[in-house]
Amino acid sequence: MYLKMPGWYYDKKELRNSPSAQDGIDFKTEMRYRKEGARLIIDTGSRMDLGYNTMATGVVYYHRFYMFHSFKQFPRYVTACCCLFLAGKVEETPKKCKDIIKTARNLLTDHKFATFGEDPKEEVMTLERILLQTIKFDLQVEHPYQYLLKYAKCLKGDKVKLQKMVQMAWTFVNDSLCTTLALQWEPEIIAVALMYLAGKLSKFEVVDWIGRTAKHLRWWDMFVEDVTMDLLEDICHQVLDLYSHTDSANTPDSPPLQPNKSIQQLPPNAQRTSNGQEKAVSP
C-alpha cells in the first residue's frame, strides 16, 4: 500500500544495481555523482548557517532519491538543492528556495549550473513533489551524531584524548555523508564504527566505560548487538576510501574530495557542538 514503510537499507549488490546502473552509468561515476551532490548540500548548507542535522537529513534524502531514479534523468545539483530545501522544512530551519539556489549558484560553475534550466526555482519546486513522492513522506531521519555524543558520555579515560577522538569521529561522520553508508547501516552502527576508527587513529583505547558488565567485551556491546569486526572494518574503509581516491584525471569537471578541504569545511555547528563537548564528555 502507498503508505507502507519502504525499507531504506540496501546491501552492496542492490547498491550496484541502482537505477543509474541500469541506465548505463558505471558504479564509480555514480559514486562520484553521489559525493558531489552530498558535497553541494553540505557546502550550501554551511554557507547558509544551517545545522549539521539539516544538512545530513538533506543528504540522506539525496541518496534515497537515487535508489529510485537515475542520475541521467534527474540532474544531481538540482536534486541536491531540492533535498536541502525539503530538509530545511523538516528540521524546522526553513530557507527560501531562491536563497538556496543563489547560494548553490555561487558554488557551482556556470556549466554545472546550466542543469537548472531557464527557471531554476520552478525546476526545484517541481522536483519537490517528485522527491516527496519518492521518499514517501518518510522524512524523519536519524543521524550518527546524536549517538556519537551519547556513546562518548559513557566512555572513561583521559578527557583530552577522548575529546580529540570524538572530534575526529565527528569529522568522519560528516565525511561519511559522501558515501552510501546511510543507505547501508543504521546510524547507531555507523557511529560505533567511526568512533572505533577515530579511537584507532588517535590512539585512544577504551578500556572502561560506564555501565560495563561482565558480558561486555567491547564498549559498543552496550549499545548495539552482534556487530562483527568485519562489519566495523568495512564501514571504516568505506570512509577512508574517500581520502584515497585521486583519480582526478578521469574527472576533470569535478575535483575529488581533498582530505584537507573536508576538514576545513567542517560545518560550524559541528565544531561548536564538539567544543561544547567538554561538558557532555565528562561524567
Binding site: 503508505l3 514503510m5 584507532k200 562483527t228
Partner: protein
C-alpha cells in the same frame, strides 16, 4: 582538533603500509584487529532489527523502468496517491492550516476525512503539513488518528484520514453540564494512552484541545492535528491566520518559557479533564496572555520562586502585570471534582504550575484515580483499542439511536457484562 591527515599518517603506521590500502579486507589486515577480539569475532546475525525488506525499486525491476520519469515518480500503477480515488463531500471544518472535508474512498469503499492543504506558490508544501505527514507515518496507535494516504497535486496536498464522526468539543456541547464520570475516566485514559505513546517517541503534540480529540461512535478517542507537533515554537496564528486559543496553554509557556517538554501537553490534559467533568472550559481567557494567566493564578495562586524555582526569571514574569492570588483547593473551585473518587487528586497532579512537578502521561495512567479500571488495560498492545465492541475489557456500545436522542449509550463491562451498569452520556 586532530586533522585527518594526521590521522591518516597514524593509520599508516598502524596498518604498516605506506599508503592507505583501498578495500583492505579484514582478514587480510590483521593488524587492525586486536588478537583478543579476533578470537571473539563471530559472525552472528543481528537480531536487533527484523530482516530488511527488499527495496521497492528492486522488487519492481523491469516493469515500470521504461516508463516516463514523471509517471513512475508519481506512484506508477498504484491506485493510492491519486485524487481520482476520492470523492470530496461536504466541508467539516477548518484545521490549523487546512480545510477538512468528508470524503469517500473508492479504494476502500469507506468514508474518509480529507484534509486539504493549499500549497504556497512561493515555497511549496508548508512545513507544518510536511511535519504532520512524516510524524503521523511513524505514529501507529489506537488513540491516534490513522493516516491512510497522501494525494499530492500541483495546487494541493491532501491527507486521507480515517473518518471519525465527532470531536470532544462538539461532544461536550451536545452533552452540556458535564459528562458521566465513568466516561470521563475512559476518555482521559485513552487521551493519556495516546500521549504517552507520543511522548515516549519524543513527539509533543503542542495543541491538545477538545477540537483535536476525535471521538468515534463507540467512544474511542483519537488524537488528531499534528500540524504543530514537535515545532520549536508554539505558534500564535494558524495557517488561516486565526488566533490559536490560549485556554489550554500552560503557565510556563504563557510566561515565555521556551524549554518545551512533554509537560506542555500535560497541562492541556488537566484542563480537559476538569472540563469534561464540569462541562465548562476552566480557564477561558478572553483577551491576551495576561488575562489567561490571571484566570489560572486566581485558582492556583500566583507562583513565587519558593514554589516554582526559576519562575521569576521567565521573560513574562512582570509583577505589575500579574495579580497576586493565593492558591485555592480545586475541589472548592469545581465542586463536581468531589463526585469522583480521586478526581481532585488527579486534577491537581496535572494542573501543576511548575512544569517539572506536573504529572507525566505514563505515570498518570497508573494514578489511583484509575483504580476502578482493569489493570490489564495497561498492557494492551499499541494498536488495540481500550474501547471495543467485543467482550474484552471495556465496551462502550452505542445502543440504537432513538429518533431525537443523539446521545450514545455506554455500557461498561469489566470482566463480565453487567446490563445494570449501562448509562447515558
Amino acid at each position: 582538533m586532530a586533522t585527518l591527515t594526521d590521522g591518516l599518517k597514524e593509520w599508516n603506521n598502524v596498518s604498516g603500509h605506506d599508503r592507505v590500502k583501498r578495500q583492505l579486507s579484514v582478514s587480510s589486515d590483521s593488524k587492525l584487529l586486536d588478537e583478543d577480539i579476533r578470537e571473539e569475532t563471530k559472525v552472528i546475525l543481528r537480531p536487533r532489527k527484523p530482516p530488511r525488506p527488499k527495496s521497492e525499486v528492486l522488487l519492481n525491476q523491469g516493469t515500470d523502468h521504461r516508463r516516463t520519469k514523471r509517471y513512475s515518480a508519481f506512484g506508477g500503477d498504484s491506485p493510492f496517491g491519486k485524487s481520482e480515488a476520492y470523492i470530496k463531500l461536504e466541508q467539516l471544518g477548518e484545521g490549523s492550516y487546512a480545510t477538512v472535508y468528508k470524503g469517500f474512498s473508492n479504494l476502500q469503499n469507506q468514508v474518509v476525512a480529507l484534509k486539504e492543504i493549499r500549497l504556497q506558490e512561493e515555497e511549496g508544501a508548508p512545513f507544518t503539513a510536511i511535519r504532520e505527514a512524516s510524524l503521523l507515518k511513524e505514529l501507529k496507535h489506537a488513540n491516534i488518528v490513522t493516516l491512510h494516504d497522501i494525494v499530492h497535486t500541483r495546487e494541493t496536498l491532501t491527507f486521507v484520514f480515517e473518518y471519525v464522526h465527532t470531536d470532544l468539543s462538539q461532544y461536550l456541547e451536545r452533552h452540556s453540564g458535564g459528562l458521566d464520570p465513568r466516561n470521563v475516566r475512559l476518555f482521559l485514559f485513552q487521551l493519556l494512552r495516546g500521549l504517552s505513546y507520543c511522548h515516549k517517541r519524543l513527539v509533543l503534540h503542542r495543541d491538545v484541545k477538545p477540537q483535536n480529540l476525535l471521538i468515534s461512535e463507540i467512544g474511542e478517542l483519537k488524537l488528531a492535528d499534528f500540524g504543530l507537533a514537535r515545532a520549536k515554537s508554539v505558534p500564535s496564528h494558524t495557517y488561516s491566520h486565526e488566533v490559536v486559543t490560549l485556554w489550554y496553554r500552560p503557565p510556563d509557556v504563557l510566561l515565555g518559557s521556551t524549554e518545551y517538554s512533554t509537560s506542555l501537553d500535560m497541562w492541556g490534559v488537566g484542563c480537559i479533564f476538569v472540563e469534561m467533568i464540569t462541562g465548562m472550559a476552566i480557564f477561558p481567557g478572553v483577551r491576551d496572555t495576561y488575562d489567561q494567566l490571571d484566570k489560572i493564578f486566581k485558582v492556583l495562586g500566583t507562583p513565587t520562586e519558593e514554589d516554582w524555582t526559576g519562575v521569576t526569571r521567565l521573560p513574562g514574569y512582570k509583577l505589575h502585570r500579574i495579580g497576586q492570588y493565593k492558591p485555592r483547593r480545586l475541589g472548592l473551585c469545581w465542586p463536581r471534582l468531589h463526585d469522583v473518587v480521586n478526581g481532585e487528586a488527579m486534577a491537581s497532579a496535572l494542573l501543576q504550575l511548575d512544569p517539572l512537578k506536573r504529572l507525566g502521561a505514563e505515570e498518570a495512567m497508573t494514578h489511583r484515580y484509575f483504580d476502578g479500571l482493569p489493570r490489564k488495560l495497561l498492557e494492551l498492545p499499541d494498536e488495540v483499542n481500550v474501547i471495543s465492541r467485543s467482550v474484552d475489557y471495556l465496551v462502550l456500545a452505542p445502543i440504537q439511536n432513538a429518533a431525537s436522542a443523539r446521545c450514545s449509550f455506554m455500557r461498561l463491562v469489566m470482566g463480565e457484562r453487567d446490563a445494570d451498569s449501562a448509562y447515558t452520556i
